[in-house]
Amino acid sequence: MIDSGLLERHNLTADEYALIVDLIGREPNLTELGIFSVMWSEHCGYKSSKVHLKKLPTRGPRVIQGPGENAGVLDIGGGLAVVFKIESHNHPSYIEPYQGAATGVGGILRDIFTMGARPVAVMDSLRFGPLDNPANRSIMEGVVSGIAGYGNAFGVPTVGGETAFHPCYALNPLVNVFCLGLAEKDGIFYAKAGRPGNAVLYVGARTGRDGIHGATMASAEFGNDIEHKRPNVQVGDPFKEKLLLEACLEVMSRNLIVGIQDMGAAGLTCSTTEIAAKSGLGIGIDLDRVPQREAGMTPYEIMLSESQERMLIVAEPDKVEAVRDVFAKWDLEAPVIGKVEAGGRLKVRDHGEEVIDIPVDAVVNLCPVYRRPAKAPSPETRKAQRMIPKRPPLKNFGEALLTLLSSPALADKSWIFRQYDHMVQTNTVFPPGADAAVIRIKGSRRALAMTLDGNAFHAFQDPKTGGRAAVAEACRNLACVGARPIGVTNCLNFGNPEKPEIMWQFEQVVKGMAEACRAFGIPVTGGNVSFYNDTEGASVHPTPVVGVVGLIEDVRKIVRPGFEKPGDVVVLLGANANEPGAAAYLRILHGLDGGRPPRMNLKTEKAVQDLCLDTAEAGWLRSAHDISEGGLAVSLAECCLLGSRGRGCDVQLQDRLPEDVLLFGETHSRIVVTVKKENLGRLKKAARKAGVPVTAIGRVGGKTLIIRHLGSELLRIEVEDIRKHWSRAIPDLFRIS
C-alpha cells in the first residue's frame, strides 16, 4: 500500500503521485513507483533547472548534437567530431570518496563511448574543505586515488582540472568529471530503438544490489546519517569498462547495432525507457534473463540497481549472433533480454509474470517541470556583499606572495596529477598545470585544448558576474595556449533549489553564463545540474564549473605559460584596476570572504583574448599566462616556475593603485605574455588596432622575481625559493610521518 511515508522515502510529493496515478490510469505498484521516483528525480528529470537552462545558447555551425543526449557532439572538420560532457559525482564522493570518484569517472567515460567516441582525455574539477583538517585530507586523498584508480586502469589520460578549498565544501565535497572523446563524424551512435521486433541486448557487468536509488539520493539533502547511505554508492571495475569500451566500439565500427544507451543513473530503468521513448516505441524485457550477481533480487532491485559497466544495445535480429560474438571475444556477457515493441509501453516480466506495464512517455517526458520561487538577498545583504573589505596593510609583500603560493589553493598540484596517468595514449602535449590541457590529434597538425574553470568565491558574492566570469576565464585559458573556443559544457553545483535564495543564485549564474556564451559565440552542448549540495542545512557556494573545448589549427604554434628566453619583454595585455573584492589574498592573508568581485566586461574580455590569439597564431608570443586567482604577482611567479629553466624577471609597474590590489587583485581580462624585443612594436600596433591596452612591464632574466612599483621595490625573491614553498605545500600536508 502506498502511503505518505513511502512517498517521502521516494522523494515524491503528493501532487507528483497524483500525476503518476493520472498518467498510468491506476495506482502504481511498488516497482513502478520506484521507477517514477528515479526518473522524476531532480538528477534525471532536471525539474527545477529546465526552465532556466533554456536560456543557454545551444546552436552553432559545428553542433552535431546539442543537449539531450549522453554527450554533446561538435564537428571539428577533417571527418572528425569531438564528443564531450561533464558530470558531478558529489554525494557518492562524500559517502565513499574512492568509489564515489572512481564511478564518477566510469560514468562519464560511458557517456562518451556510448556515442561511438573513444575517450581521449579526462579532467576533474574538485572542491574540498580546508586541508588543515584531517577529515578533509582523507576525502581528498580518497577522491584523487579513485579518479586515478579508474582512469589509469581504463587507459584514458587525466590531463588537467582544478582544485579549490573552502569550509562550505567540508561536508559536501564537489567532484565534477569531464571527458572528451574523438569519433568519426559519421560514426556517432544514439539511443535508438529502430523498429518493433529488434532485439534488446544487455551487455557488460552483472546486476547487483549496489547503487539502488543513487539518483534519488543525489536529489535530497544529507543529514548526519550518511553511514546508512554507503550501500547506495556503486563499486567500479575499470577493467570491465575497458573491455566494454573495446567491444562497443567494435560492434559500432562494424555497423552491427541500431542503438545503444548506457546504464548510468537509474540503470536498467533509464536505459530501457529512454531508448524506447526516443523512437516513440515500447520495450518488453524479461528479468529472468538479466545477468545477476546475487540470488533473490526483486524486480524493484533489478530495475533500480546502478551497478556499473553495463549497456543496453538494440540490434536487428539477424545481427544478434555477430554482436554476441564480439562481446564473447572480449569475455563479456551479452544476452538478449527482450525486444522492441510497438505501443509505447515498458513491459517487464519476472518469472513469466508481468510486473511493470507503464507508458514510457510518461516516465521519460512528462516529469513535472517547476519554476521554483527565486528570491534575491535583501538590499542590505547585497550592499554588504559589494563593500570593499577593510583590510590591514601588508607589511612584507614577498612574504605575502610566498604565503599565497604555499596555500593549497594556489600551490603546485603535482601531488594530485602525478597520481594520474596523464600521458597514456601519447597525445598529451602539456603536463597538467598549464592554462589549458592540449592533446594533439594523431595524423594531423591539429590539436584540441580544454579547460575547466569556475570561481565560486566570485559567484557567491555576485552570481551573475560569477557565471559570466566562469565562461570568460575558461576561454581566456584557451586563448593563452593559442586555442579558439568551439563549445561549452557545464556542471552547475548548487544547494537546495527549494530554497528561494538558492534558486536565485542559480537563475543569476545561468543568465551570466548565457550572456558570456553569446559574447564568445560558443554553444553549450550539454552539461549537468547538481542541486541539493547541502549537508546539515548548510549549502555550498554556488559553484558553476565550465568546461570549454578549443581547437588549435597548427600544434607547432601552441604557446606555453613559462618564461624561457632572457631578454624577452614581459607585456601585460589588458589593464590593472582597483578591484580587491573576493580575491584569494583576502581569504588567505586576511581571512576575509567578502567584497564585490571584479567586473566582467565581455567586450573588453573578448578583445584581449582575440589579441592574444591573433598574436599567438602570428607566432609572436613566446609565452602567455592568464591572471586569475592570486592576481598579477602570482601569475608572474607561475611564469617563472613553469618555464623549463626557472627564469626570473624584473617588472616595473606604474599604475597608481594600492600595492596589495596591484599585486594580488583579480581584475579580469588580463594576460601576461612575453615577446622577443623585435616583436614588441608589432604587438603594440596590433593592440592599438584592437583597442586593447598593453604595457611592457619588464624583462625576463636572472633567477629572481623582482616587482617594483613607481620606483620602489615591492618584492625580490629567488625563483628556487618560491619553488620550494610552492611545490612542498601540498605534499607536506600529506606526508606520512
Binding site: 584508480g149 589509469n152 586502469a153 577493467f239 573491455l243 601519447t426 602535449v429 603536463p431 600544434v555
Partner: protein
C-alpha cells in the same frame, strides 16, 4: 625487424606502442592477440603497458596464463627478442623469464612523471645505440614498480651486467631522491642472462616524438632495429 605488440584484455599502451613502432619509426608491426598461438613470424615481441586482466590478484599474475604467453616463452627460450614495458615487465617477472618481483611504490601512490634513467649496460641488443652511463629522459606511469630481488639474485644481476637501467637525476647521479619508486639499488630495467629479454618500467614508446617532451625512448627501439637480426629485414612505412 618485425615487431609484434601483444594485446591482453586490459592492455592500454598497446596502441601507443604500435604507433611509436609503426607510425613514428616506420617498422613492420603487428598486433598479437592473447588468445592466439601464432606469433606471426615476428623478430621481437613487445609486451606493452596497461592493466592486463585489471592487474587483479597481482600485476601481471593472470596474463602469464594466456595461450599466447606459452608461445612467447618458447620464443624467448629459442633466443627471440622480448621487450616488456611496465605491465609487460611485471608479466615477464610472473612468467619467470626475468628474476625478481615488483612491490608497491614506496610512497604507496601511482606515479606518472618524466624520470631520468642511466644506461648501465650499453652492450645489450636493446641499448647498443646508447652510451654507457648515458642519461635518458623517459616517463614512468605505475603503481607497482618498486623492484625487488633477494641478495643472491641481486649479486648475480650486478655481476653479469644484467642491470640495464637505474633511476638517476638529470646529471646521472643515482641516490635515494632519484630512486622515485624505491626500487632495489634504483633498478629501472633488467635483462636475462642470455641477453634477449628486457623488462623496463619506463615507457620508451611515450618518448619518441619531441612534441611530447622527449625522444630518448628511440634509443631502445633503434637499438633493436639496428641489431643484426633487425638489419636483415626490410622495414615498411605505415600505409
Amino acid at each position: 625487424m618485425r615487431f609484434g605488440v601483444v594485446v591482453f584484455p586490459g592492455s592500454n599502451c598497446d596502441a601507443d606502442t604500435f604507433h611509436a613502432l609503426n607510425g613514428v619509426l616506420g617498422c613492420d608491426t603487428v598486433y598479437l592477440w592473447h588468445k592466439d598461438h601464432d606469433l606471426q613470424g615476428v623478430d621481437c615481441v613487445v609486451l606493452p603497458g596497461g592493466f592486463s586482466y585489471g592487474d587483479y590478484l597481482r600485476s601481471g599474475a593472470i596474463a602469464r596464463f594466456s595461450p599466447l604467453m606459452q608461445e612467447v616463452k618458447r620464443f624467448a627460450r629459442k633466443g627471440g627478442f622480448v621487450l616488456g614495458i611496465c605491465n609487460g615487465f611485471q608479466i615477464l617477472l610472473e612468467l619467470g623469464l626475468l628474476p625478481g618481483a615488483m612491490l608497491r611504490n614506496k610512497n604507496l601512490k601511482f606515479i606518472c612523471q618524466h624520470v631520468h634513467i642511466r644506461v648501465e649496460n650499453a652492450g645489450t641488443v636493446f641499448t647498443r645505440r646508447a652510451a654507457e652511463g648515458q642519461v635518458l629522459r623517459i616517463p614512468i606511469a605505475h603503481f607497482d614498480g618498486n623492484y625487488y630481488a633477494p641478495p643472491a639474485v641481486y649479486r648475480r644481476l650486478e655481476g653479469n651486467g644484467q642491470i640495464v637501467f637505474r633511476y638517476c637525476d638529470d646529471s646521472g647521479q643515482t641516490d635515494e631522491a632519484a630512486n622515485v619508486n624505491g626500487s632495489l639499488a634504483g633498478i629501472a630495467g633488467v635483462i636475462n642472462a642470455e641477453g634477449n629479454v628486457l623488462g623496463m618500467m619506463p615507457h620508451p614508446e611515450r618518448a619518441v616524438e619531441s612534441l611530447l617532451g622527449s625522444t630518448d625512448g628511440r634509443f631502445v627501439f633503434q637499438s633493436l632495429i639496428d641489431s643484426p637480426a633487425g638489419r636483415g629485414r626490410t622495414t615498411r612505412r605505415p600505409s
